[in-house]
């Protein structure tokens, strides 16, 4: 197979000193006017596949993720935020205050050269500067404008203010995470932002392909709440409509055939899941030393795994606990792998970063940044046989490419840069 150069596609395609890309989006030009996670992650995905992304940040403070961290040695520094560095690699960075007349004008000139604008400001924010979609459409009929917001560009809640926790609440996503009777849990790390970003990059690619047929750009309205509802929490709509069933919180388990739960062991937690009956049978054999343990064999209540999962799960957990608590994750995992049992460890984050398998696959990549130094970053999960993703440059320092972009692309005379800075434009 032509797949996977050197069996290490991630590592093989890293070329931090060159801007050359062989990615499938080579030639696509993107302007990002985004903040924090959703829009920046959307354009990072596109940049990794070869698109040229110019990230526009407000002068002085920059993207808010620069203040978020984590920071090396816990020392806050706007060029060293781990979140910013991860989300913004492979981009050119410029500063521009679009609230100034000159800034808005320069922003329009950037868009004149672009295929795609990705932004995640509140609906109507860009209109205030004469940069709303209707105006952009008139000037740049081929431009694709992708907007990511909590509730979308239309509807009664469009102007609602919402952070990730509010989006996962409204989408009904939080209601299915946590213990019954206690408060619902929002999925960690603002995960809704990432899911809306992935949706936005997918929709943007549809628009890039559609434009070949129609010759026209368009507006893409991505609502984080809708993404979560459409792909995750809303999929069971018919189960409610027809059977009155609603998924609720079940703590560390799901109401499915036993076992389907996260259970503690000696040094952490194991995902105990066996969809096929023979997988569970093999585990019982391990437990009983070649045959299922007597307590299991002698109790007919446990034979129906679906019933056991709904009614006797606590009792079964207690039966397994002594064995689980006397074995480590790695011991259990090894035994399970040897015996074709699909139980898996719940890894700690450092176990992921140092994972033998992920590292052998070249998933993590190292990259030098002028301020933050050499760090290990997660890579892209796609391995294209012909057009690999590539990591070409570290995240930009604030305004790093002002001269290159403003003078080189927009033709601003170099002597005006200082004036633009003094005027608060860049």
């Amino acid at each position: 197979m032509t797949l996977i150069p050197g069996d290490k596609p991630g590592a093989a395609s890293v070329a931090s000193d060159t801007r050359q890309s062989k990615g499938p989006l080579t030639g696509v030009k993107v302007v990002e006017y985004g903040d924090f996670i959703s829009a920046p992650f959307c354009t990072r995905l596109m940049a990794d596949l070869g698109a040229e992304v110019v990230k526009v940040e407000p002068p002085d403070c920059g993207d808010s993720s620069r203040r978020y961290g984590p920071f090396p040695q816990d020392s806050p520094h706007r060029e060293k935020s781990g979140l910013y560095l991860y989300l913004n690699a492979n981009k050119l960075g410029v500063t521009l205050d679009i609230g100034t007349a000159t800034g808005a004008n320069m922003f329009r000139q950037l868009l004149a050269q672009a295929d795609v604008l990705v932004e995640n400001h509140a609906p109507g924010h860009l209109d205030k500067f004469g940069l709303g979609y209707q105006s952009l459409k008139e000037h740049f009929p081929r431009l694709i404008v992708t907007s990511i917001t909590p509730f979308g560009q239309t509807g009664p809640y469009r102007d609602y203010k919402a952070y990730a926790i509010n989006c996962s609440a409204a989408a009904g996503w939080s209601l299915i995470v946590g213990e019954p009777g206690r408060e619902p849990l929002t999925p960690p790390l603002s995960m809704g932002h990432y899911i809306s970003a992935l949706s936005a990059s997918t929709a943007t690619m549809v628009a890039v392909i559609a434009r070949r047929l129609t010759g026209r750009g368009q507006q893409i309205d991505v609502s984080e709440v809708e993404c979560l509802n459409s792909l995750l929490s809303g999929v069971a709509a018919n189960a409610f409509v027809y059977y009155g069933r609603m998924r609720m919180r079940h703590g560390n388990r799901s109401p499915a055939a036993y076992p389907y739960a996260v259970l503690p062991c000696k040094d952490g937690y194991m995902w105990m899941i066996a969809i096929q009956g023979h997988e569970w049978k093999r585990f019982l054999d391990v437990l009983g030393g070649g045959k299922p343990p007597d307590w299991y064999e002698s109790d007919p209540r446990f034979k129906d795994r679906l019933k056991a999962g709904r009614e006797y799960a606590d009792e079964l957990d207690a039966r397994l606990a002594p064995w689980l608590m006397s074995h480590t994750k790695q011991e259990i995992f090894q035994l399970c792998r040897d015996n074709h049992i699909p139980f898996a460890p719940v890894n700690d984050i450092d176990e992921v970063v140092n994972n033998e398998h992920l590292n052998a696959r070249g998933f993590f990549v190292e990259l030098e940044h002028p301020e933050a130094g050499r760090l290990k970053y997660p890579g892209e999960p796609q391995k294209f046989s012909r057009t690999p993703w590539s990591l070409r440059s570290a995240a930009p320092t604030l305004g790093q490419h002002n001269e290159e972009v403003f003078c080189g692309r927009l033709g601003v005379p170099k002597q005006e840069l200082a004036l633009l800075r003094a005027g608060g434009v860049i």
Binding site: Q73, G152, I165, P184, D221, A237, N238, I349, S385
Partner: protein, 404 residues
């Protein structure tokens, strides 16, 4: 030829997708007009046809299957029979994309791997979504959606702050991998339209679920720290939680980041004495004393409905939203205005409700055109019309249980 409304019309996908990740991937493309032909066999049905909410145990009536498989066609082919393999090769020859999420090696055993198929269709785009990838020391790992969320470390953070791990308990990694997969296929189509070249894409679900955890991984890389269970804690934000409201299992989310938002919140709830206390005077103190503050905020929300609290706080410019259950979302004015749920007529279940496309495109919107297919519903169309097989041949293969 594609219409503006369905921009992927004319792109045909042979879809071996099963369960969650694969079908969600192809479903995203079907929404936009791609012709997705789902390969099934009565010998071994897609397990989602008989999921836990399928009360009647009828594979044509599974409520979840309806949603993720709408807009697709279904044919039944037993490819453990080599005549079935031959049929599928004919189909791949007239397809543009092949999608699959079997364990690594399954398709190869039947001669349906990329190396075999690219000989029939030189510019083929093929995407595979193996759980742990096709190479590496754990490539043979048997994974299920939930265990991938454990392997990638995400579940380690899901639980009440500092308490035991609970985990997400849902096919969340499948959705992340499916989105990466659909995006990658579209990128490959873009490359093909530019150059005429197809290619193979391997998308490891474990890696996909890991790639969306940037800040936690960077924390480990930079400071060697492992986050434990996080509850509803968001660094630097307080209040930041779901608070109890009037009614059974009703909650409202409230999130405050800045001093301005805190001021607006205090005014909106009637400037109670506790809010003026020294221990809540700035963002850092509020963060430190968040547990006590959560209790006090909860006392205020408890007597009100989640919608009331939301409206009151949103008017003041404070981020709040109710935790909406399925019945509430179906009735909610915003969800209705945005048509977040779409009715579709299904020949067996009647009117089904499926979720909208996760984005709205102004010029090429796509849509929900057909319900999830019955098992083998499109055998006649695919074998007769597309592959131009004679009726005798089709009947013979049905009788032989190759088309089965």
């Amino acid at each position: 030829m594609a219409s503006a409304e369905y921009p992927l019309e004319g792109i045909r996908i042979t879809d071996f997708g099963q369960v969650w990740a694969g079908p969600i991937l192809s479903g995203l493309l079907a929404n936009m007009g791609a012709e997705v032909i789902k390969i099934e066999t009565r010998k071994r049905l897609d397990s989602v046809r008989l999921g836990p909410d399928n009360v009647e145990r009828d594979p044509e009536k599974d409520p979840w299957f309806q949603c993720i498989n709408r807009n697709k066609l279904s044919i039944t082919v037993d490819f453990s029979d080599e005549r079935g393999v031959a049929l599928l090769k004919k189909l791949v020859k007239i397809s543009h994309v092949v999608s699959e999420n079997f364990s690594p090696g399954v398709l190869k055993r039947h001669g349906l791997d990329y190396d075999s198929l690219v000989k029939i269709k030189p510019d083929l785009i093929m995407v595979a979504l193996p759980g742990a990838g096709s190479f590496g020391p754990m490539a043979d790992l048997v994974t299920y959606g939930p265990s991938i969320v454990g392997l990638c470390g995400y579940d380690r953070m899901v639980g009440y702050e500092g308490e035991r791990v609970l985990g997400m308990q849902q096919p969340y990694a499948d959705v992340v991998a499916a989105l990466y997969g659909a995006y990658s296929v579209l990128a490959a189509i873009n490359h093909q339209q530019e150059t005429g070249e197809g290619q193979y894409i391997e998308l490891c679900q474990w890696e996909a679920a890991t790639a969306v955890m940037g800040e936690a991984l960077m924390e480990s890389v930079m400071n060697g720290r492992n986050p434990g269970t996080l509850g509803n804690v968001q660094p630097g934000m307080a209040p930041h939680n779901n608070y109890p409201c009037q009614g059974q299992d009703k909650w409202v989310s409230i999130a405050i980041k800045t001093d301005d938002e805190w001021g607006a919140f205090c005014r909106a709830i009637g400037s109670p004495e506790w809010a003026k206390e020294e221990r809540f005077a700035d963002g850092f103190l509020r963060w430190q004393n968040r547990k006590e503050m959560d209790r006090l905020v909860g006392e205020w929300t408890r007597g009100r409905t989640h919608y009331e609290v939301t409206e009151l706080l949103q008017k003041a410019g404070v981020a709040a939203a109710p935790c909406l259950s399925m019945d509430e979302r179906l009735e909610d004015p915003h969800f209705q205005d945005r048509q977040a749920f779409v009715p579709i007529e299904h020949p067996v279940i009647g009117t089904g409700w499926v979720t909208s496309i996760p984005w709205k495109m102004s010029d090429t919107p796509g849509g929900v055109r057909t319900p999830a297919p019955l098992i083998g519903q499109h055998n006649q169309y695919v074998f007769g019309e597309l592959l131009k097989m004679s009726q005798d041949e089709i009947n013979y293969l049905v009788q032989e249980k190759v088309i089965y």
